[in-house]
Amino acid sequence: MKNLLYKEYMLAVHPLFFLFILMGAMMLIPDYCYYVAFIYSVLVVINNIFTSGKANKDIEYTTLLPIKKSDAVKARFLSVCVYELANILSAGIFAVVSHLVYGSGLNQAGIDINPAFFGFVFVMFGGFNFIYLTEFYKTGHKILKPILFAGGFFMLFIGVAETLAQYIQSPVSAYLDSSTPEGMLMQIPVLIAGIVLFVLLNLWGFKVSAKRFERLDL
């Protein structure tokens, strides 16, 4: 696995992609739909890992190496997750800066930057990975359906999450959209649930993808 990750970072994942981690700085924009900071990750970075892989015949190269096909899938899941976690970490750091600079001000344009928000981001990435990668490994080369389905899910998720937290006033929105210290402490279970779902969706997605990829005649 170590060798496959080395291959991922030497050949498949261009270092330039990691620049997009800095999109986490969008946490500093006052009154904003902060989920947008992660759209670049999926539409630009992750989709491009696969499109450039297709252009560079990554699968043709990788499957000739002395590895199990399922390990190639695992390495890809890991490199995608590493990127997403780096994106979340960067956003987390800028979120702290945002709180220090602006205080716990109410975000008028969307959910406040708080643990519930990050919990939703984890679920959003987990869902995206599950849909994109399981769909991609059906064929090993088609990338339109994966990005349409997974990108569609991503946008829909943002819409639903923002509606729940911001646009329909309810006890749920009051709970999710708080950025007071007490409110944020109460949201920790949402963050944990998000992380657990992220892990589960990726594990499940890997199992499905590996099975589909194994069946493929290349």
């Binding site: 030497m10 190496l65 069946r215 005649d217």
Partner: protein, 280 residues
């Protein structure tokens, strides 16, 4: 001893099928795998590597089933499917550095010696290599991890005659130690004339013949002229009629019958055998 044994390999793709493909590659020999484009050569080679899942049949490498020993097989088989055409903007040294990580027996000194021998600059990018250089680079990588068997899919196709001759020379040098074996598919028959010990002929997914090169050529004769009875006409293979008569191939065992009928028979080269076998 057979280093590679393919037994009863079947794979259906709808319009095309490998039908009971069976042959062996002996240790220290070169097996030429020939057939027209689309006859099933690449599919067979991919099935050997586990990239294509056969519907039936067994492939054994050094007596071990490929299906259950994928990693061992890939560690010990050097594969060249055409030239290197992946990651074209990367340098030779980068691709080699990454590839080397995966092989237990990668030998950098050997790799460097092949680069020198093939006149390859490790700072060149893949896209800047000629077709011949791409094949040589692929060969250098395949040879640098101690592969016992080289599986080469049309390594000489698209190369100029001089480059082809160079590659063939490399094959001949390689098997001289008796430790390496080569299975290479091609439709360039003159390459086989130069270096193959054995020939396996595939047509429409079926193996027509798998034997040593000399026996293969000895099995057929080219025939023309004479007075042909309907029985003799039935024995003609790939007949072509023209205003002067006809020209066709026959099985060597039928030669006496044709000579009695006043026909001229001659020995036939591999390329002509292929043409007659494929001519409808």
């Amino acid at each position: 001893m057979s280093i590679l044994k393919i037994d009863g390999l079947c794979k259906s793709f709808g319009t095309f099928a490998l039908d009971n493909v069976s042959f062996c590659v002996e240790e220290g020999t070169v097996m030429g795998f020939i057939g027209r484009n689309g006859a099933g050569k690449t599919t067979t080679l991919k099935a050997v590597l586990g990239l294509v899942h056969p519907d039936a049949g067994v492939v054994e490498f050094t007596g071990k089933a490929v299906k259950d020993n994928e990693l061992f097989v890939k560690q010990n088989i050097g594969v060249v499917l055409g030239g290197v055409d992946y990651y074209p903007t990367y340098k030779i040294k980068t691709i080699a550095k990454v590839t080397a990580k995966f092989y237990d027996n990668w030998d950098w000194a050997l790799f460097d010696s092949y680069l020198e021998k093939f006149n390859l600059d490790k700072n060149k990018r893949i896209k800047d290599l000629s077709a011949g250089m791409k094949v040589k680079f692929a060969l250098a990588m395949a040879l640098s991890h101690g592969a016992k068997l080289l599986l080469l899919d049309e390594p000489t196709s698209g190369l100029d005659p001089v480059s082809r001759d160079e590659i063939i020379g490399i094959f001949i040098d390689l098997i001289a130690d008796g430790q390496h074996s080569i299975l290479f598919s091609t439709h360039i028959i003159s390459d086989l004339e130069k270096c193959a010990d054995y020939i396996t002929y595939i047509q429409d997914g079926r193996i027509i013949e798998s034997t040593d090169k000399e026996s293969f050529a000895e099995e057929y004769r080219v025939v023309s002229g004479g007075v042909l009875t309907p029985e003799l006409e039935k024995k003609l293979i790939g007949v072509r009629k023209n205003s002067f008569g006809y020209e066709a191939m026959i099985k060597a065992e039928d030669e006496a019958d044709f000579v009695s009928a006043g026909a001229n028979t001659q020995r036939i080269g591999l390329e002509d055998i292929m043409i007659h076998l494929e001519r409808e």
